[in-house]
Amino acid sequence: MTFHVNHPILYVLVGIIIAAVLAQSVYFLVRAMRRAKEIGIDSAVVRKTITSSAIFTIAPAVSVLVGVVALSKSLGVALPWLRLSVIGSLSYETIAAGNSIEALGMTFGDQITDPSAYVTVLWVMTIGIIIGLILTPLLTKRIQGGMKKIENRDKKWGEILTNAMFLGMISAFLGYVFCDVSLAFTGDFTGLIPVCVMAVSAVVMAICGLLATTCKQHWMNDYALPISLVLGMASAIPITAWLS
C-alpha cells in the first residue's frame, strides 16, 4: 500500500475508534437518563440539561475543529481528527507533533510523506497522552471513594469541599486572564484584551441573570452560559482590533 497522510484506510481506522467513543457517550447518556427517571428527576430538567449542554458545546467544538484544520497541513486530516476527538487539545497535540517532527529533522507545516515518519509522530502523540486513559479506569473508583468517606464524616464540609474545588479551578483561569496586563505599562495594550473579553462575558451573564429573575424569562437562565460565551468571543474581534 502506498502511504499518504490522507489515505482512505486511515479514515477507516480513525472512524472505528471515533465510533467507539461515540458509543461510550451514548451508552452513559442512556444509562443516566434511565436512572434519572428511576429516582424521579423531572423529565423537563433532563431535557433542559440536554439542550443547554448541546448549545453550550457548539462554540468550543468549532474551536476544536479549527485545531484539526491547523494540524491537517502537516499530518493530513485523519490523525488530527482522532487526536482532537479523543483526549487531545490543540496545545498538547501541536507540541507533541512539533517535538516529534523536529526530532525527525523536518519542519512543522511540511506535509509528512514518509510512512515511518508518520508512525513515529503517531507513537509520540499516543504514548504522550496514554497515561490518563490507563489511570482513569484504575483510579476513579478509589478517588471518588475517598471523597465519599470525607462527605459521610461531615456532610456540610463535603458540600463546601466540592464548591471550593470548583472555585479553585475558576480562580486559576481568572488569574490567567490577567497574565499579560503588566505589558500595558510598556505601552502594549494587548494584555488587556482577555480582561475586556472576560468583562463583556461577565456583564452579559449578569444581564441574563437579571432578565431571568426580574422579567420572568426563565429560559434565559438555561442559555446564559452559551450566550455569554458567544458574545464574549464575538466581542474579542472589535476589542482586539482596538487594543492591538
Binding site: 436512572r35 434519572a36 516529534s100 486513559l133 464548591n163 472555585l167 488569574g175 464574549g232
Partner: protein, 221 residues
C-alpha cells in the same frame, strides 16, 4: 443472596470496561498503520520526541486525574478522560448544568445531571468534528479567516467570565482569597501564562481547600 449492584457501582464497572477498551483501540491505531504500510518508527526520533513530550505530559496527566476526577463525578470522569477538553468544555458544562438543575455535585442527582451534560457535550463535539472533517474543504477558508482568530483566541476568558459570575456571586466570602492569590501570581510571575494555567489549577484548588477548611473551622462558612 447476592446484593444487587448500585447505580454508582455499575457506572464504575462499565466505565472501566469502556475505558480500557478505548485505550486498547488507541494503541492499536499506530500498530495497524505500521502493519498496513510496512513502516516502523524511526527509533532515535521516537526517543527524542518522547523525551521532549512524555515526562511533562505524564506529570500533567497524573495531576489532572487527581484534580478533576473528584469534581467530574464517576460517569463524567470516565467520559471526560476519553474525550478530553476537560477544563475548557466538559467541567464548565457539567457545573452549569448542575447549577441550573439546582442539584449538589456530591449527590446522586448531581452525578446523573453531570453525566448527562458531559455525555451530550462529548457527542455534540464528536459530531461537529465529524461534520467538519467531511466538509473540511469548503469550511477551511471560513475557519481560518483571520477576522475570526481573535474570537477563538479568547475563548477561555469568554467562558470563565460568565462562569465566574455564577460561582463567585454564590461563594463571595470563599472566593476572595484564591482570586487575589491567582491574580497576584499571574500578574507578577512572568512564567505563568496560557500554557501553564493547567499546572496552576491544582495549586488554586489546594489553596482554596485550605482557605475553606480554615474558614469552616472558624464558623465563617
Amino acid at each position: 443472596m447476592k446484593k444487587p449492584m448500585s447505580y454508582l457501582d455499575s457506572v464504575h464497572r462499565d466505565g472501566r470496561i469502556w475505558g480500557l477498551f478505548i485505550c486498547f483501540l488507541i494503541v492499536c491505531f499506530p500498530l495497524a498503520v505500521s502493519v498496513l504500510f510496512g513502516a516502523f518508527p524511526q527509533w532515535e526520533a521516537l526517543w527524542k520526541g518522547l523525551l521532549a513530550t512524555a515526562p511533562m505530559y505524564w506529570a500533567v496527566g497524573i495531576i489532572e486525574i487527581f484534580t478533576y476526577i473528584p469534581m467530574l463525578g464517576a460517569g463524567g470522569a470516565y467520559l471526560s478522560f476519553v474525550t478530553g477538553n476537560i477544563s475548557n468544555l466538559k467541567l464548565p458544562c457539567a457545573l452549569d448544568a448542575m447549577e441550573r438543575a439546582n442539584v449538589k455535585a456530591n449527590s446522586e442527582e448531581g452525578e446523573i445531571i453531570s453525566t448527562i451534560a458531559i455525555a451530550v457535550s462529548s457527542i455534540v463535539t464528536t459530531v461537529i468534528v465529524i461534520l467538519g472533517v467531511i466538509l473540511i474543504v469548503p469550511l477551511s477558508p471560513i475557519l481560518e479567516a483571520p477576522v475570526l482568530d481573535p474570537a477563538f483566541d479568547q475563548m477561555l476568558p469568554a467562558l470563565f467570565g460568565g462562569l465566574a459570575v455564577v460561582f463567585v456571586s454564590k461563594n463571595r466570602k470563599l472566593s476572595v482569597a484564591p482570586i487575589v492569590l491567582m491574580l497576584a501570581l499571574f500578574i507578577f510571575v512572568p512564567a505563568l501564562n496560557r500554557d501553564t494555567v493547567g499546572i496552576m489549577v491544582p495549586v488554586g484548588v489546594l489553596f482554596t481547600l485550605l482557605v475553606a477548611r480554615i474558614m469552616y473551622k472558624k464558623g465563617m462558612l
